[in-house]
């Protein structure tokens, strides 16, 4: 099974994934969404919500395998 890497790009810059996860590509998007929700939930507990970031999914050789923007991971109702 191939190893996929999930780099976070957001307000604090790039957090590069050096370790990766062995997983089928069809699970990558759900994994990224779960990760974004985990990050945002911790931010909300501290009174902040910054949905301007994204996770870039890539292979070890740097080939892009997709992108999930933070605001795609949650349904927001502002009114």
């Amino acid at each position: 099974m191939q190893r996929l890497y999930f780099d976070i790009h957001n307000g604090t810059g790039l957090t590069e994934d050096h370790e990766g996860q062995a997983m089928p590509i069809e699970e990558a998007r759900a994994f990224a969404i779960r990760s974004i929700r985990s990050i945002l939930s911790d931010e909300v507990l501290h009174g902040m919500l910054d949905v301007t970031g994204r996770i870039e999914i890539r292979t070890g050789s740097g080939e892009s395998m997709g992108r999930v923007k933070f605001d795609e991971a949650i349904e927001m109702r502002l009114r």
Binding site: D17, E19, F31, R34, S35, S38, I39, L45
Partner: protein, 239 residues
Amino acid sequence: MIDPHIQRIRARHSLSREEEEAIRAVMPPPIKVKRHAMAVRHGDKLDVSTLLISGLMGRYKDLPNGRRQFAQLHVAGDFIDLHAFTLKRLEHNIMALSDCTVVTVPHERLRTLLSDHPRIGMLYWFSTNLDACINREWELSLGQRSAAGRVAALFCEMHVRVTQIGDPGALDFPLPMNQSELAECVGMTPVHVNRTLRQLREDGIATFERGRVTIMDLDRLHKTAQFDPSFLYLDAIPL
């Protein structure tokens, strides 16, 4: 071979030469356990308890969907399942997080050891109580600490436990697991843990790389975790 176990007992309690010899006498030869192998499997009938001599092991439970939560880590010198002496099966799994060495002590030998040396029974009872203290601290983390607080609290605890024998006070110590396993200890996703580690590193508090923790600022690590080491009973009352 079982020196780490003897040292770990003596870190908190006295142990006479006779008691030490009695413990050594019940220990069979060591066995190697490969990284990621299961040491104890959920539901298996157990007539031995396993003493970890070297390496790192983790106790975990999982859901049918594969999501896993570690409940405790075990370091060299710990019995990983002394509670199996009375439970006879575990409702959780214990896996090797690194290559490990163990001895598996038959319960019959433990029974004889404890009837001949009741004080060793007290010391082993203390150690299962200490396991429960650590579990409660992890509950506090999972329920109440922030992401950075959870990771920091784990580093604080393991700093004490890993360096307790051998190199007390060392600010650099092995924690041979990957970020995914660390994530399963603190109830976060690996990606979130990666970002949290970056924050701890950039704040000059601690780094976790290639299975080693390096503490850059112990005081701030303790503050981030709101760490109170009293749950580790380092100042245990003599038994």
